[in-house]
Amino acid sequence: MILTEHEKSILVGASGTGGDQMAMEVVAEAARMLGADRLVKIHSSHIDGCLYHGDSGALYCEKLAAQGARVKVPATTNVGALNLLKPDQCRLPATQRKMASRLMIAHGKMGCAPSWTCAPYQAGARPALGQQVAWGESNAVAFANTVLGARTNRYGDFLDIACAISARAPLYGLHKSENRHARLVLDVCELAPRLVRQDVFYPVLGALIGRIAGETVCVIDGMPQGATDDQLKALCAAAASTGAVALIHIVGVTPEAPDLDTALGGRAPESTVRITRDMVISARDTLSLTADGQIDSVALGSPHFSDAECRELLRLANGVKFKVPVYICLGRHTLAEIEDDGADKALEDLGGVLVVDTCVVVTPILPSKPGVMMTNSAKFAHYATGNTGHLPVFGTLSECVASAQAGRVVRDQTVWS
C-alpha cells in the first residue's frame, strides 16, 4: 500500500497528536486488510459510532479525544442511545445511560456537529455529486450514494470516526468509478402507474430490492419522475435494511443514471429482474409479522421524520386524538422547524410522543411489555422484533394514523387496487 509522506508521518507519530496516530492506524490497517492500494481524501463524514453498544466503545472514543483527536472534515453525528432533551424517555439502566451519554459527549469533544440524526442529508449535510466522503449508517450511506451521487462505502463503528479524524478513507469499493455501475436491472415498467407514485410503494420496493440485490449495485428502470427526498429516503433505508445495498440507480431520477446505458457503464447487465405486482405485494406482506387487529403503538420516523412528514401527519390526523401512543422520531433540525409554528405542540396534543436524537428501535423507549407496533417504515418493520420484541404491522402513513385513532389496524385497500 502506498501512503503519502503526510500520512506516513502521522502514522509513525512524527506529526499530529496521539489521537491522529491512532485514527490513521485504523484507516491504514483497514485499507491494508481490504486490499486498497492507497487512501483517498474525504470531504465529510457521518458518524454512526455514537450509538451505545457497550462500555468499550465509549472508553475508546474517550481515549481518542483525550489523545487530542479532532475531526479534520465536517462530521455529523448519527443517533445516540438517548434523547438528550429528555434523558428519562429511555429505559436504559442508569449505568448504561451514563456511558451512552459519555460516548455522545466524546464525539462532541472530537469536534463532531451534534446533529444526532440518521437523516443528515435533510439537516444540511448534502455532499456534492462525485465528492468522496466517509459515511456510516446504512440508510445515510445509500442516500448519499444514490440520491446525491457522493461516494462512500458503508463505514461503521471506529472506522467512521477514524476517517473523519484522518480526513482519509481506504480507496476501494464505491469510492472508485468503475465499481459504481449497475450490474443488475430491476424493471418496474409493468406495474400500474398509480401504484408506483404512492409513498408506500417506495419502502416496499426498497425491501424487495434489498433481498434481490444484496450488495450488488442495481438500477431501477420505469420509475416516475419527481420522486421526493422523503420517498427516496424510504426506498434507500428499506433496501439497506433487508440487504447490504449501498447504491441504487434510478433511471431519470438519480444523478448517475440519466439513462439506463449510463447507469450500466455501457455494459450489458449481468441479470434483469422484471418486478411484478405479486412480488411487490409479497414484499409488503413480509413487513408485517402479525395479523391485523389491536395495536399497542405506532412508530414513525426511520429514517427520522422530516418537516413535511410531520405536517402530513397533522393533516391526516385532522384533530382526532390517538388512542395509542404515536412515537415520532426526528432530529433537532426538524424539531426546530415544527416548533416555529407550534406544530410540535399540536402533535403532542394528539397523543404524539416526540423522540429526538435517537429512535425507538435502537434504545428502549417503546413500552417494556412487547406488543404490536404499527409503522410506515420498512426499516422499523425489519428491526422491530429483533431489537425490541414488538411485532410490526406495516401500513401507509394514512393507515397508521387511522389505526392510531382506532386502536386497531384500519386498512385502505384502494392503495393497492
Binding site: 486488510m33 468499550s56 463503528d157
Partner: protein, 133 residues
C-alpha cells in the same frame, strides 16, 4: 497436515474450532454480554463463541459488528482467533481498536473454503500456517 492462510492480524492461537454454518452479523447476532449466538434460527444459536477458534465462512451486515467485537475483548469473552472466508475489515477493525486500548488481542486470518469442522483442535502460527490435531 498443515495449511497456509493469509494473515490479516498476526498472532498465535490454539484451541477448538467453532464453525458458523450460516452467515451472521455480530450486531444483533452475538451477545457481547454472554458471547452466545442470539440470532433466532441460526444453526449455532445459543452457542458461546468465547475461547473458540472461530471459523466464519461468510459475514453479513452491520458495520456495528466492530463494536460488538471490541466489547467481547472488554468483557473477556472474545474468541481465540478469527478465521474468515474472505477479506473484510468489520471484525478486524474491532481487533485493532482493542489492541490500541492495550487489551490482549487475537490473530485474524483469511482462509476460503476452510476444511475445519466444529470441535476439531487447530493451531495458528504467526505466519498464518494452520495445523490440525
Amino acid at each position: 497436515m498443515s495449511w497456509q492462510s493469509e494473515v490479516l492480524i498476526e498472532g498465535e492461537a490454539e484451541g477448538e474450532v467453532l464453525r458458523f454454518d450460516a452467515p451472521i452479523s455480530f450486531w444483533g447476532g452475538v451477545s457481547p454480554v454472554t458471547s452466545q449466538v442470539t440470532l433466532a434460527g441460526h444453526p449455532q444459536h445459543g452457542t458461546a463463541i468465547a475461547g473458540k477458534m472461530l471459523v466464519i465462512p461468510q459475514m453479513i451486515g452491520s458495520s456495528s459488528s466492530s463494536a460488538v467485537m471490541l466489547e467481547l475483548f472488554f468483557t473477556g469473552l472474545a474468541p481465540k482467533a478469527l478465521i474468515l472466508g474472505g477479506r473484510d475489515a468489520i471484525l478486524p477493525v474491532g481487533v485493532i481498536v482493542a489492541r490500541q486500548m492495550g487489551w490482549p488481542t487475537i490473530p485474524v486470518v483469511v482462509f476460503p473454503e476452510v476444511p475445519f469442522q466444529t470441535a476439531e483442535k487447530i493451531f495458528i502460527a504467526r505466519n498464518g500456517q494452520i495445523e490440525k490435531g
